[in-house]
């Protein structure tokens, strides 16, 4: 009997059953009762849960163009620490990822980093300007094999452009991921429009500016029979629209960020721009609606919208600050805190929302696979019984704009496996290129 590369002993599978899992040559070699053979690396996982490696459908890696905030390498490092084996790099880089050249560059950088799969997302429109379609076909056929297209950062607000985009991607098996924000209603907007914004004197970003676009786009997707994905859903009203659309059989999926499952707009009262994000933090009622929707599957996935920014972009007045928060390293802990520990979801559902469903939407075949013999060994091991304190000076991201600095969070990730190799192991990061 050959020696296994790794043996994860006594872990709980997502369905709760205990098992020993052995990994050999990049795949899962055995799953079941006590493993009797040898293994080069034995991991005592008795209090741990093993999930399929997490898949993020919404990550900002900032390279090319803003390497001061993050690079594909530093973002990959943050990703493996957060239990991710695949991330999707949004297209709002500089230059914009609207050609085969840029997406192939990002893809190659991900391969060189060798820590997880980086799947570039292609822009819907040239330069994210919302006017002319980008070279969707060229990007789909490139080495990067792009299937997810998004102008995230910007909304595809022109209804005719959105219609054409939804139609065109059908040829390439793609999906449009819409950042729903009516630009006319949100010029200069700083935070959720409501009681708090009225008091703080910060220009409001009304929920209707998000919901109106979602409503329009689900109707468009229905009309042209195409696939639509709604990025970072943040409002109870938006949840209702998605529910309605799904009931009618419209092919729409939706994501929610970890921060929108936990944080609310009253945090802006300190005027600390670490809480400034787009779309903005909303109200308690919205947070509850989002949690329920994630639990019942109306919201299909959790996606981080990991948005690194250099210190000077956050250490200033609110109006001047950039929008965005880090998310990769804390995502699973926040989901455990808000959804599992509160009793709304079990680990099997977490596996679905954070790995299986995002892999399916993105078309990432090697990810989100069931934990059975023969599956690619993309796995994450987490100990839900341990806690850890978030320290912004110790994050692996190049930036430190985390809203959780000082928070004590549940769930410590002990290992991340990518293609059978331990990319993250109790604090150590190892590239698959290294031996």
């Amino acid at each position: 009997m050959t020696t296994a590369d790794h043996l994860i002993k006594g872990a709980s599978l997502p369905d709760g059953k205990k098992a020993d899992i052995s990994i050999f040559n990049g795949v899962i070699a055995s799953v079941g009762s006590e493993f009797k053979g040898d293994a080069k690396n034995v991991i005592d996982a008795k209090d741990c849960v093993v999930l399929p490696g997490l898949v993020d459908l919404h990550t900002h890696l900032r390279e090319p163009g803003r390497e001061d905030a993050e690079t594909v390498l530093s973002g990959s490092r943050a990703g493996v620490k957060g239990g991710f084996t695949a991330v999707s790099a949004m297209a709002n880089t500089s230059p914009v990822a609207d050609t085969a050249g840029v997406v192939e560059q990002v893809y190659r950088l991900g391969q060189e980093a060798g820590l997880l799969d980086v799947f570039p997302i292609g822009a819907v429109t040239q330069g994210l300007k919302g006017e002319a379609l980008s070279e969707i076909g060229a990007m789909a056929d490139s080495v990067a094999r792009v299937r997810v297209f998004s102008d995230d950062g910007n909304c595809v607000s022109d209804p005719l452009v959105m219609r054409r985009a939804l139609e065109y991607i059908k040829k390439f098996g793609g999906v449009i991921a819409q950042h729903a924000q009516d630009p006319r209603m949100t010029i200069g907007s700083q935070m959720n429009e409501g009681e708090i914004s009225a008091r703080l004197g910060l220009k409001g970003w009304p929920a209707v500016a998000e919901e109106a676009i979602i409503a329009r786009d689900v109707l468009l997707a229905d009309h042209v029979q195409s696939r639509l994905h709604i990025c970072h859903l943040t409002t109870a009203g938006g949840v209702e629209i998605i529910r309605w659309a799904k009931a009618r059989g419209i092919d729409v999926t939706a994501e929610v960020t970890p921060h929108h499952l936990l944080l609310t707009d009253d945090l802006a009262s300190s005027y600390d721009p670490v809480y400034k994000v787009n779309p903005p933090l909303r109200t308690e009622a919205d947070v509850h609606a989002l949690r329920e929707a994630l639990a019942d599957g109306t919201i299909d996935i959790v996606a981080t919208d990991h948005a690194p920014h250099p210190t000077e972009s956050k250490e200033c007045e609110w109006q001047e600050a950039a929008f965005g928060m880090l998310g990769l390293e804390t995502a699973l802990s926040i989901v455990q805190k808000t959804m599992v520990d509160s009793g709304l979801m079990n680990w099997s559902q977490v596996a679905d929302r954070m790995s299986i469903a995002p892999a399916r939407i993105g078309g990432y075949e090697n990810h989100g696979q069931p934990i059975v013999v023969g599956s690619v060994a993309n796995l994450v091991v987490i100990n839900p019984t341990q806690k850890w304190t978030v320290d912004r000076d110790l994050v692996l991201s190049k930036s430190s704009n985390t809203p959780y600095h000082g928070h004590v969070l549940p769930g410590v990730i002990t290992h991340t496996f990518f293609k059978g190799a331990a990319t993250y192991s109790n604090g150590t990061i190892t590239s698959v290129g290294d031996k």
Partner: protein
């Protein structure tokens, strides 16, 4: 009290003590004493990242009457206008030994960011931050109202005040609503629906779109400046419609209660929100507001700076 960032930071007795201190200081200034040694040796910096002549001069006069040294950092020609960050500006002021910074800034929350940061250790006085608050304006407005209509009471209980105009973008309105309510007055906000913030239902004030029905019942009509830009931003069709419904003209003034006064934080758009006739009438206390501003700002500087390290308060 270490900073004055928002009226929300004051309780009723603190607010009244500022007004009472201002009353005494006004007497001092009215009389032969023009200068007091109280803040001798202290350095107060006016950090005005947004243009403003009257507020800056008012704070400067207040500081000088208390013998403080004043340094002016104003928008034009300063490093702030050349893109120096608030942080770097603050650290420069700290290096210069500023005991207090009076900050006026176009970003809401700028004063609080300065106070909460570790960039400097002096007191921060908010002289107007974006559309958030303008505490010293509200205090001088309350002082003026108390002087004319207070009947010797320490607070403003029983008085009715109408605040009219662009409430949505007005830091003066926000501070005044908080302070007038704190002092027991009843506030009615009058504006077109487009200029009222969503979420206003929780403010301690009633709302009306009908100026004419509110006027006869109030003791104070406080007019706010309406900026010309609001017209191109679709807040109302044109100046004519705005004046017709929300302008204080002679006819509306005639329906005011006997003894009721007209106020305006300035600068005025004569002919838009307020007619020249009203601005120059006997009911107008607008120029007196400016005089009172110096006494009130002296009181603020006194309360924040005259005491020493043993004080307990909001940090």
């Amino acid at each position: 009290m270490r900073h004055l960032l928002s009226i929300a930071d004051l309780n009723k007795s603190e607010a009244i003590s500022i007004l009472d201190t201002a009353t005494e200081l006004a007497r001092v200034s009215d009389g032969a004493v023009k200068k007091l040694p109280t803040l001798r040796g202290r350095t107060i910096v006016n950090l005005f990242a947004e243009d403003s002549t009257r507020t800056r001069i008012s704070f400067e006069a207040a500081a000088k009457r208390l013998s403080a040294d004043v340094i002016n950092f104003s928008a034009k020609g300063s490093s702030v206008s050349k893109g120096e960050s608030l942080k770097d500006t603050a650290m420069t002021l700290q290096a210069m030994g500023a005991d207090a910074v009076v900050i006026r800034h176009s970003a809401s929350g700028a004063a609080q960011r300065l106070a909460d940061s570790q960039w400097m250790s002096g007191s921060v006085i908010n002289a107007g931050d974006g559309t958030h608050e303008h505490p010293s304006q509200a205090l001088l407005d309350a002082f003026t109202i108390r002087k004319h209509l207070g009947m010797g009471a320490s607070d403003l209980a029983g008085l009715n005040v109408a605040i009219v105009g662009d409430i949505l973008h007005s830091r003066v309105a926000r501070s005044n609503v908080l302070l007038l309510a704190l002092l027991g007055a009843k506030v009615t906000l009058v504006a077109p629906p487009t200029l009222l913030p969503v979420g206003i239902q929780n403010w301690p004030a009633t709302v009306s779109y009908d100026f004419d029905s509110v006027i006869p019942h109030v003791d104070v009509v406080m007019m706010l400046r309406v900026q010309q830009e609001r017209m191109s931003d679709l807040f109302f069709p044109n100046a004519r419609e705005y004046s017709r419904y929300f302008g204080l003209n002679g006819e509306r003034m005639a329906s005011m209660k006997s003894g009721a006064i007209v106020m305006h934080p300035g600068p005025m758009n004569r002919g838009l929100e307020i007619s020249a006739e009203v601005a120059d009438s006997a009911r107008s206390v607008i120029t007196e507001q400016v005089t009172n501003g110096v006494s009130v700002r002296m009181a603020i500087l006194y309360v924040l700076l005259a005491g020493g390290a043993l004080e307990v308060g909001r940090d």
